[in-house]
């Protein structure tokens, strides 16, 4: 009886955890055919009571995925690789042009608007979030496009 109770509780905890983290508005910017890098954007929402930490990402459609953050400093466009991104309890972090983004490195084949990119977001506890991000042609402007 205790054994089954344990399993049921674990099940509740896993599903309630999964329900607390949400990925919305995921999209990948369409890029030139010979572009070695593409960018993925999304919003991570944490409805839970503890911070969640994103530590990496993967995609079967790219050689490698890294998390980067763009910024303008003294007129210079810079980019910093992020080892982790923390999403506060009850908060959200947006990955948007000009800010955080997934650097999708070396597409294994050309991706065009309408294609879908499968992303796996890796959290620090080892948990994985599966996301599907459509490829979109975007006319730029750092977020003034929705």
């Amino acid at each position: 009886m205790k054994y089954w109770l344990g399993i049921v509780l674990a099940g509740f905890m896993a599903s309630s955890w999964a329900a607390q983290v949400e990925v919305v508005d995921a999209w990948v910017r369409e890029a030139p055919p010979n572009a070695p890098m593409m960018a993925g954007y999304l919003t991570l929402r944490n409805a839970g009571r503890e911070a969640i930490v994103l530590v990496g990402a993967k995609s079967p459609q790219f050689k490698k995925v890294e998390i980067h953050r763009s910024r303008i400093e003294n007129g210079m466009a810079r980019m910093e690789k992020q080892e982790k991104v923390e999403v506060p309890a009850g908060g959200e972090i947006r990955f948007d042009p000009g800010g955080y983004h997934l650097m999708l490195m070396h597409p294994l084949k050309r991706l065009r608007a309408g294609d879908r990119v499968r992303l796996e977001l890796i959290l620090d506890g080892g948990e994985r979030l599966e996301v599907v991000a459509p490829v979109r042609r975007d006319h730029g402007g750092m977020g003034h496009h929705h």
């Binding site: 010979n34 572009a35 890098m37 007129g75 980019m79 042009p97 006319h139 730029g140 402007g141």
Partner: protein, 210 residues
């Protein structure tokens, strides 16, 4: 009497010519915007060692109008594609724009060849001009334009001037100038438009490049 008349005509002709030439010098565009900076005096940009994606020598002077230049690189995932997309959008929708050309200068000659540039830019707009150059040529033009750049290892954050074989294998980030560089028909750099670079700001700027 005749001699004085000849002298007078000559002086007036020269003066008239000078006044005409003065009037033809491109005036500073009549536009003020946050993040838009006009320079006076203004430097003439060097073009030695720069070439376009057809392999022809590139020149900063262009009698037909102004040049809107952006310095970046094709391994850029976020900032450069966004800016090029804005520039392409402006080109496609701006009516009655004064003649101008858009130039994308790669500050990553180690990975961006003229052919790479041609294919990359064709995606945004067939009219965009890709420019590459030797490291020396790029250092000269970016220094004059105030468009500084350097290379950085993404893991250590360490900056370097020239990528070695290891860096080329691993990949590196290029930190580059984020503003649009505005060059008049004489090849003189007259202004910078700093981010945010969106369709509205860039349209207003291009309309003012009379």
């Amino acid at each position: 009497m005749k001699k004085t008349a000849v002298w007078l005509v000559a002086v007036l002709a020269v003066a008239g010519g000078a006044i005409m030439l003065w009037g033809l010098r491109p005036a500073t565009p009549d536009l003020q915007m946050p993040g838009l900076q006009w320079f006076d005096p203004a430097p003439r940009l060097p073009a030695d060692g720069l070439e376009d994606s057809e392999g022809r020598p590139f020149r900063w002077d262009w009698s037909q109008g102004w040049t809107v230049a952006f310095f970046g690189y094709t391994h850029c995932p976020d900032f450069c594609p966004d800016t090029l997309a804005v520039l392409a959008r402006v080109e496609s929708q701006l009516q009655d724009a004064p003649p101008h050309r858009v130039v994308f200068v790669s500050v990553d000659p180690y990975r961006d060849t003229p052919e790479v540039m041609r294919e990359y830019l064709a995606y945004f707009d067939e009219r965009f001009i890709g420019v590459t150059g030797s490291p020396e040529a790029l250092q000269a033009v970016t220094a004059e334009a105030g468009a500084f750049y350097d290379y950085e290892d993404p893991d250590s954050g360490e900056a370097f001037r020239v990528p070695d074989a290891k860096a080329l294998e691993k990949g590196y980030v290029v930190n580059h100038f984020g503003a649009l560089v505005l060059v008049d028909p004489d090849g003189v750099m007259r202004g910078h438009l700093y981010p945010p670079l969106n369709v509205e700001r860039v349209s207003r700027l291009i309309r003012a490049l009379q």
